[in-house]
Amino acid sequence: MLVSARGLTKTFGDFVAVDGIDVEVRRGEAFGFLGPNGAGKSSTMRMIGCVSPATGGELRIFGQDPAVDGPAIRARLGSCPQADMLDEELTVQENLWIYGRYFGLTKAQTRKRATELLDFAQLTDRRGDKVEPLSGGMKRRLTIARSLINNPELLLLDEPTTGLDPQARHILWDRLFRLKRQGVTLIITTHYMDEAEQLCDRLVVMDHGRIVAEGSPRDLITRYSTREVVELRFDSDDHADHIDAVTGVAAASRVELLPDRLLVYTDDGDATSADLHARGVIPLSTLVRRSTLEDVFLHLTGRTLVD
């Protein structure tokens, strides 16, 4: 067990940001915290990263207590905070060189490792450039490369792809998969359900500082949603008007109302669509899709992940 938390709590004044969560992360897995903005993901990550003291509860990383062994734990961690925080006065490779020294690596170790990591981050041809003009995706990759300089057993990634364009996201995911294959334990926070589904073996769904569900993505979807979802958009201002007409349709178990559409949870999307048609319900558009973690979140909290 690399990380274990019992009743972990973080308060800022009267405000409870993390409200007594229990978490266990095993060696070699990719573990996720999925939740909307303000759920308490970053606060949790900072406690695990030993840069924020827990207000209450018990936290062990590598079996050690951050309050006592913070520097020793941090020596074995890699940490990519939500904001990049690269050293903009230095070049790309200098960022790696000096970071290695902060970890007590020798100059030779650092140089060798930096060369490998520049290659890994696909930044070898930018190694002598200043950091500032790099694209968002490059900066993120450099941040990840920098956090790997000490060969960490555990890598913390706080919203690794927030703010990146789709192509940059896919490059980054590919790099993270490689790390996972090499046995690095990953802890990832995200408010993107597709990211959580792609990257995480196991995850917890977080809301208002609490954990509302835990399991593998597949698990959670089976437990809290149906196999498929039929999305209906109507030509009207208030989709609530159409709930009655849709309720009880074939194969469906539940209807959720969103401002711009109705979601019909069903075990057989085609059967549901056909029955709606037979009932004379004619939406502007009908979309049949698989259930996702977004649906899990909606079911558990009544809200969407991204607003």
Binding site: F12, G49, V51, S52, P53, V68, D69, G70, P71, A72, R74, A75, R76, L77, S79, P81, A83, M85, L86, D87, E88, E89, L90, E94, W97, I98, Y99, G100, R101, Y102, F103, G104, L105, Q109, E116, L117, D119, F120, S147, L148, N150, N151, P152, E153, R178, Q182, G183, V184
Partner: protein, 281 residues
């Protein structure tokens, strides 16, 4: 990336960190030198600052020493000797430039790193602790200051403005002045939240520069405000440098030294404590 080896992680839990846990000190891993190394690395990209930091006090020395020296032929020091004006003012310029350099480095630069560049946040994610950051930043300010002071002393000596072998100690004394001001400056900076707050620094530095027995001896001040002059840190820096460079050595110098050491230690501890409070939330 197939060659990326994931062998034993680099960990060097130091004896220093174990030791400091027993004391009520902000945490550090005894790795402040890497903060200094980082600054040296960044400095290579901006070496022009080195030239200006050196040039300013030298310009002062020649404009005051030669210009005012032509009008004021000699000055009676508080130590009782009669010396040319340039010889009188050179130690004060050395002390003031040590102060200025230290304050620049530990206020503007630290403020930027703390509030904008988030440099210390990324350092604290490694084994480094707040004490390493405080000690490293102050140490860097001292290194730069020592370089300027050495150059200044060499110029003053060549120009015949140094009269005693005690002046060899003027360089460590300048470093001590730098320590006191860098430490207090860094501590003060941790309380600042906007660039406007730097006006307070200017407000503190300028009168000190002018009225710390810098340009005329303490005896010329009215009796009633001498104690005020003597309370300022720069006064002790100037008195220390003047005593050494003019060879007026006595127990008073130990007092000046103690004053500056105490200021430096309090400032460094305060700065480390504040960084801990601000960033490790």
């Amino acid at each position: 990336m197939s060659g990326l080896d994931l062998g034993a992680p680099a960990s060097r839990a130091t004896g220093v960190s174990r030791f400091s846990r027993a004391l009520p000190l902000p945490a550090g891993a005894g790795m402040a030198r890497w903060v200094i190394a980082r600054n040296a690395m960044a400095f290579r990209h901006g070496w022009v600052a080195l030239v200006t930091g050196f040039a300013e006090p030298v310009f002062y020395l020649f404009s005051l020493g030669i210009g005012i020296g032509a009008l004021v032929h000699s000055v009676r020091t508080d130590g009782g000797s009669e010396v040319p004006y340039a010889v009188f003012v050179a130690p004060a310029l050395l002390a003031s430039s040590a102060m200025n350099g230290a304050v620049m480095d530990s206020t503007f630069n630290v403020f930027f790193k703390l509030r904008y560049a988030k440099l210390y946040d990324s350092m604290l994610a490694t084994p480094l602790g707040p004490r390493d950051i405080a000690v490293g930043e102050i140490g860097w300010a001292l290194l730069r200051g020592a370089l300027y002071s050495a150059a200044f002393l060499a110029v003053a000596a060549l120009a015949g403005m140094v009269t005693s072998w005690w002046a060899l100690l003027a360089l460590p004394a300048a470093v001590l002045i730098g320590l006191a001001f860098a430490a207090i400056g860094m501590w003060a900076t941790t309380f600042m939240t906007s660039w406007q707050h730097f006006d307070y620094i200017t407000l503190a530095i300028q009168p000190m520069f002018l009225f710390s027995a810098t340009f005329f001896p303490l005896s010329t001040y009215p009796e009633g405000i001498r104690w005020l002059v003597q309370a300022t840190p720069l006064y002790h820096g100037v008195a220390l440098e003047r005593g050494l460079m003019l060879g007026e050595v006595g127990w008073a110098l130990a007092g000046h030294t103690a004053y500056l050491v105490v200021l430096g230690v309090i400032g460094a501890l305060g700065a480390a404590r504040r960084i801990e409070r601000l960033l490790l939330t």
